[in-house]
């Protein structure tokens, strides 16, 4: 463990590699976390099925690759399919838990997560899968740092998608309705906004964003039916650290998480990767609690 740590100082070039990989993967984490922030902020539903939507999107790209298509085509396909899936889930489950207590929505989405991961497991089996993009891998900085083209492309795609969503939220009629509902659902209803439709749209949009993130993950990393829970926890870490409605914060936290995972994977060993994510979750929650207890003391 300490060997690897000293390696980082002896050969600083490793840092560049870890940073780059961390940023590439972190951008995708941030994308999925943005979807969670959306659902959390607008509907106050903590979606524990977040990571499983990501994995589902990943399997869509994987299936397309199996059929001989390029996995990048999976991006629009997964977006549309997951949007429809999100709508169905909303109508069947989420609509009925939206005004109930928070644990209900948490547990209901956990149930959805279990169903999704187990169905995927039945269809694809528990092996780790990836979709080959077929792009080349470049070496830079004197052949010491490798950058796969697909990572760069997915980074740009993630950024482009995030920008498109931001513009959509700011400019489009639906985006405005979503923001109005987030501010005050009752007032929005009085103003003639069909809040039920807005909620359905928000949840579906979240599923679609997750699906797209999953496609990118399949191309640059691996997917497996049971990796969903880790992705959910990642999204929770990012959103809890950044707070919802804080897009720059979500992006920074996402990139930071990606880098932190790369470093812990390198220094501690790959088996600690999940422990790192979960440990960060606990750390973020504790930090939040300390912050809150300060607020409580001010009130006293």
């Amino acid at each position: 463990m300490l060997d690897n740590l000293s390696l980082l100082t002896i050969a600083p070039i490793f840092n560049v590699q870890l940073l780059l990989d961390g940023l590439f993967i972190g951008a995708i984490f941030a994308l999925a976390a943005y979807g969670l922030a959306l659902v959390w902020g607008v509907m106050n539903v903590k979606n524990l099925a977040q990571g499983d939507f990501v994995i589902m999107g990943g399997y869509i790209a994987f299936t397309l690759a199996e059929w001989g298509l390029h996995p990048i085509i999976g991006l629009p396909v997964a977006f549309v399919v997951m949007f429809a899936f999100g709508w169905i889930v909303y109508v069947l489950v989420i609509r009925r838990v939206i005004d109930r207590d928070l644990f209900t929505s948490l547990l209901a989405t956990f149930g959805i997560a279990i169903v999704v991961q187990q169905v995927l497991n039945q269809i694809y089996g528990p092996e780790v899968k990836t979709a080959e993009s077929g792009f080349e891998i470049r070496s830079i900085l004197g052949n010491q740092v490798t950058v796969a083209d697909i990572k760069l492309i997915s980074f740009l795609l993630a950024g482009g998608l995030a920008a498109a969503i931001v513009v959509f939220m700011k400019r489009s009629r639906m985006g405005q309705a979503i923001r109005a509902t987030a501010q005050d659902p009752r007032a929005a209803k009085i103003m003639g906004i069909d809040t039920d439709r807005v909620y359905a749209f928000t949840y579906s949009l979240n599923a679609a964003i997750c699906g797209a993130a999953g496609v990118l993950i399949t191309m640059i990393w691996v997917i497996q039916p049971f990796y969903g829970i880790t992705h959910s926890i990642r999204s929770f870490v990012i959103v809890t650290a950044a707070g919802f409605g804080n897009l720059p914060g979500v992006i920074m936290a996402g990139l930071g998480l990606g880098v932190a995972e790369q470093y812990s994977g390198f220094v501690l060993g790959a088996e600690f990767q999940q422990a790192t994510v979960v440990g960060l979750l606990v750390a973020v929650l504790v930090w939040r609690q300390i912050q809150q207890s300060r607020i409580r003391q001010v009130v006293q």
Partner: protein, 361 residues
Amino acid sequence: MNVETRRLGLYGLLLGAGIFAPLVFPAYTSQVAVLWIMILFALTWDVMGGQMGYNSLGNILFFGAGMYISAVVQIGLYYDVGEYTSAFGAVKVDWTMSQYLTGIAVGLVAAAVISALLAVIFGWIVFGLRGPYFAIGTLGVAIAAGELVSAWEWVGAGGGISMPVYPGEPDDRSLIFYFLSLASAVATFVFLRWLYTTRFKLAINAIRDDEEKAEAMGIHTLRYKTVAWAVAAFFLGISGAIFGNMIGFIEPLEVAFPTVTFGIFMVVMSLLGGKGTIWGPVIGATLFHVIKEVTWTHLLGWQWVALGLLIIVNVVYFQQGLLGWAQDKWPELFGIVVEDRDRAADGSGGDDAGAARRAAE
């Protein structure tokens, strides 16, 4: 025949059924033993989730902790734990009967006490979290515990530990663990039933209904929350120790810290039976376990999908649980006198279906 004798008769009948079950149906001993553990799970989850309104998704932490503590104590009393685990059970170690029984006795006590202490320590970390943050935080702690144990060489890491082998007849062994499970579940039930007649129950119910107001009324909420969690952890630690010995081989992710199986089963069972009651978790656990045992093998891998669907349907469409539903339907059977005014106020809430009902519990 008044209510009290009828109740005693019912308890006697159930206890008798529990004691004679393995003698009448010896083939099902281990399944019924697991049923008692499940009942214990649901009851201990309900202390926090039902009575106090703190929905923990990570109570399985103490189950696993108890299992490992007991294993380490049982082995550590007579051998070097690091040496024993590094051999992955390849070293044949014989235990005399007295060694074995002392090990289990000391292991059970240690598992219970240390698990309760762990609850106090983790309470500091997680009790500032409210609502969904608490649920996610406890889930995180439980997953982290599993991951850390599977990286800890001294307790066998991911390879696990094979528990001491029982020196006597295999049939005796299953009976011993059957009666230990039965005793632990009965002890939990009796203790909680007593606990729910004290002021403690009123205090934790006050925390559930409105924590800020409870605090304003002078209830030391953190202390009550910690004690409630420690009580749950105490019994969960015992159940972990028993289960580990019953299985004979323990391993961190699937056996000791199974967050998505046993950890969720506890919640589902309590909700199925009706949370916030003493009989709800018992009925829910029995029903769930029987359904699971009967249907599981016929579903060929789709059982987990069915479990997920059960959770969704349970939470979304049937949240008051069986007992809650029965109490709404036939309140007079439960000795509840409902005035019309209360009924109008109660009828609306699916989750908070009636303070009157809880008062009568």
